[in-house]
């Protein structure tokens, strides 16, 4: 391995990037469930998607589907980041 300071710097950068990705994912997580599913739901209920009022749909269907997408996106994104910073499992 190269110079330990440089390695440490790379690792810190890796961690910062990770925190950024986590922050983005959690923002979506919070907006969909607490925003669209709860706080904005009464307003969104004015919109109908088929027989579903939209706020109701987010609280009982949409948020769960979003959670699944977030987890698989994060796994994919982090595996990419691991390879980029050469910290993936060998």
């Amino acid at each position: 391995m190269s110079d330990p300071n440089q390695l440490q710097e790379r690792r810190n950068e890796y961690w910062r990037r990770n925190l950024k990705i986590i922050g983005g994912c959690l923002a979506v997580w919070a907006i969909v469930s607490y925003g669209l599913g709860i706080l904005l739901a009464p307003a969104l209920n004015a919109i109908q998607i088929g027989g579903y009022p939209l706020g109701f749909w987010f609280a009982q269907q949409g948020s769960i589907i979003t959670f699944l997408i977030i987890i698989f996106f994060y796994a994919w994104r982090m595996n990419k980041l691991d390879r980029e910073f050469e910290v993936d499992e060998q």
Partner: protein
């Protein structure tokens, strides 16, 4: 063949299946007993985790709560799935890298303290025992239904079976048994939902059926349900009802944080083969959980619709509009015998009226215009809704039997897992790890069995006099997990300078304040009659109900831990280095 005999046969067959698989898998390899899931395909592992996780609360209780809470029931749906996002992003990969086997072990090592480990064990016990109470209630209801006996007897038979099942041993640890349990569970849950959705809307997919029009009509199911409920004095189904929006928000938050702090679920991510898999395996678990959770809203709404139409086949207010006592369908007789459903013909008109007599304006109007003298469905336990659903929809007997088997699979798989966690925490972490390290192997086993038996008796007693419906009791357990385990784990990973003093103070404060709040309204150690304040909205602090308080407890834990850590010495250099290494997947 009578329904009872059929049910016993179906339940017996599923038991034979689990035991058969356990024996077959055990001869293959013994190591699986200790490390569940190692070397198992992540998809199959996700399925097993889903079985481990989905309990009587998810299977038996949740859709029933949704049926009555309507839109607001989304708190349970979002709370119990959204926690997996926290788990996958904030805990799983790092705990896997750390490579310990139990949560108290991680906390003890990361915070270089036996005291921290003991507090983690106590938190684990509080969480798991509360959780088991909810399961016992579920098991009791399922058994009293199958055997056609009152709830007490159903519960006692359930206790005996859970005890044998848990003591029988590491059967629980074998991933393949859990995969079988998952299949039974999901089949039992979705088959009746498909039937009912097709009956009502012509669309067999419940997720689409819930958003479709009723067969032969131009009206959407949800719209019709809203209108019917309003006609009977209730709040519309698709709007906030049953709890305030603040409580819905807080409950969702508590359940999410609690999910990510449940020791028996976290443990599964310690043992996946690679960190890459740890990230993904939470996702696979959620895929299999979502199959049930995306179906539950339809089960809730459709069983409510069917129930109301059973009680009110004709026009509201018409003399013959309600079901006549002698015409009550067969499923109601079965449930009346368990004592969980009760009708009282208050106005002696030979018909049963189901409406909201808590709505004074409506009740007055109904009395004057219709001659109704109160809601005549005098007892309707929400925990019976899912098990009664196939009966209400007049589905064939084999479907009813199947649902009962699914409910029992859900309750047993989780209860047995929790009991194993309780007994190993006491015998391994507490007695062998701290109190008496030189205990003999027999002594350790004995302690494990005694603690398991004691936990079943305690949980069984409280299952008879529960502090709430199964899903509500389980929600309390999540509140404890949110207040104690999750914040400590998260700070242990994301805050390098979090030290022993901070973690201990945070856990004590978070768990303490949550215990105090819940016991104040639910009674000391949940014993009925020992509560200090009535459990109603006007007495709650800021209107926050007991199930939603875990989010406050978590905040207290974070704040106290942070403040104490700032005031005391930072952790030793080797611990800080350890935290650095946990953050990177590659070993070095």
């Amino acid at each position: 063949m009578s329904l009872q005999v059929l049910s016993i046969i179906v339940v017996g067959l599923t038991f034979a299946l689990y035991i058969g698989i356990a024996i077959w898998a055990r001869t293959g390899s013994t190591s699986e007993f200790y490390v569940a899931g190692k070397g198992v395909n992540p998809v199959l592992n996700g399925m097993a985790t889903a079985a481990d996780w989905m309990s009587a609360a998810s299977f038996i209780s949740m859709a029933g709560l949704i049926a009555f809470l309507g839109y607001t029931g989304g708190a349970y749906l979002m709370g119990w799935t959204g926690g997996y996002v926290l788990m996958a992003l904030l805990l799983a990969p790092y705990l896997r890298k750390f490579g310990k086997f139990t949560v108290p072990e991680f906390i003890g090592d990361r915070f270089y303290s036996k005291t921290a480990r003991v507090i983690a064990v106590i938190s684990l016990l509080v969480i798991s025992i509360t959780y088991v109470i909810g399961q016992m209630r579920g098991v009791g209801i399922a058994f009293s239904n199958i055997l056609n006996v009152p709830l007490t007897i159903g519960l006692i038979s359930g206790m005996v079976i859970v005890f044998i099942y848990a003591v029988f041993g590491g059967m629980k640890g074998i991933t393949y048994t859990q995969i079988a349990q998952y299949c039974v569970m999901i089949f039992a849950y979705t088959v009746p939902a498909l039937f009912i959705s097709f009956q009502l809307t012509g669309n067999p997919l419940p997720q689409l059926g819930l958003g479709s029009t009723l067969v032969g009509e131009n009206q959407y199911l949800l719209q019709a349900l809203d209108e019917t409920l309003v006609d009977l004095g209730f709040q519309p189904y698709t709007e906030v009802r049953g709890m305030s929006m603040t409580n819905m928000f807080m409950l969702t938050l508590s359940l999410m944080i609690g999910t990510a702090g449940l020791p028996h679920v976290i443990v599964r991510f310690f043992t996946v083969p690679r960190i890459r898999d740890a990230r993904k395996s939470a996702g696979w678990a959620l895929v299999f959980i979502a199959i049930l959770y995306l179906t539950a809203p339809a089960v809730g709404a459709m069983s409510m619709w069917n129930f109301i139409n059973t009680m009110q086949p004709g026009e509201v207010g018409a003399p013959e509009g309600n079901v006549a006592v002698e015409n009550l369908p067969a499923w109601t007789d079965r449930w009346e015998e368990t004592g969980l459903l009760e009708f009282t013909d208050k106005n002696d008109d030979g018909h049963i009226q189901y409406y909201n007599d808590g709505n004074e304006e409506f009740a007055q109007m109904a009395e004057q215009e219709y001659g109704w003298e109160g809601n005549e469905v005098t007892k309707l336990d929400r925990d019976i809704m899912v098990l009664a659903t196939p009966g209400i929809a007049q589905l064939p007997n084999w479907v009813i039997a199947l649902v009962a088997a699914g409910g029992i699979a859900a309750a047993l798989s989780t209860a047995a897992g929790l009991l194993l966690a309780i007994s190993s925490a006491i015998s391994h972490d507490l007695i062998k790890g701290v109190i008496k390290p030189d205990v003999s192997e027999q002594g350790e086993m004995m302690a494990a069995r005694i603690s398991m038996g004691a936990a079943i008796l305690f949980a069984g007693y409280l299952g008879l006099n529960p502090p709430g419906f199964a899903a509500e009791v389980v929600a309390l357990a999540f509140g404890f997990a949110a207040a104690s385990i999750f914040p400590t784990l998260m700070m242990g990973i994301f805050y390098r300078k979090m030290n022993r003093e901070g973690a201990i103070a945070g856990m004590l404060a978070g768990l303490g304040v949550t215990l105090l709040y819940i016991f104040t309204y639910k009674g000391w150690f949940f014993f009925p009659g020992t509560n200090m304040l009535p459990d109603t909205a006007e007495y709650w602090l800021l209107g926050i109900n007991t199930g939603s308080f875990g989010a406050v407890g978590a905040a207290v834990n974070f704040i106290v831990a942070f403040a104490v850590a700032k005031m005391t010495t930072p952790p030793p250099a080797d611990i800080q280095k350890l935290v650095e290494s946990v953050r990177v997947p590659r070993a070095d």
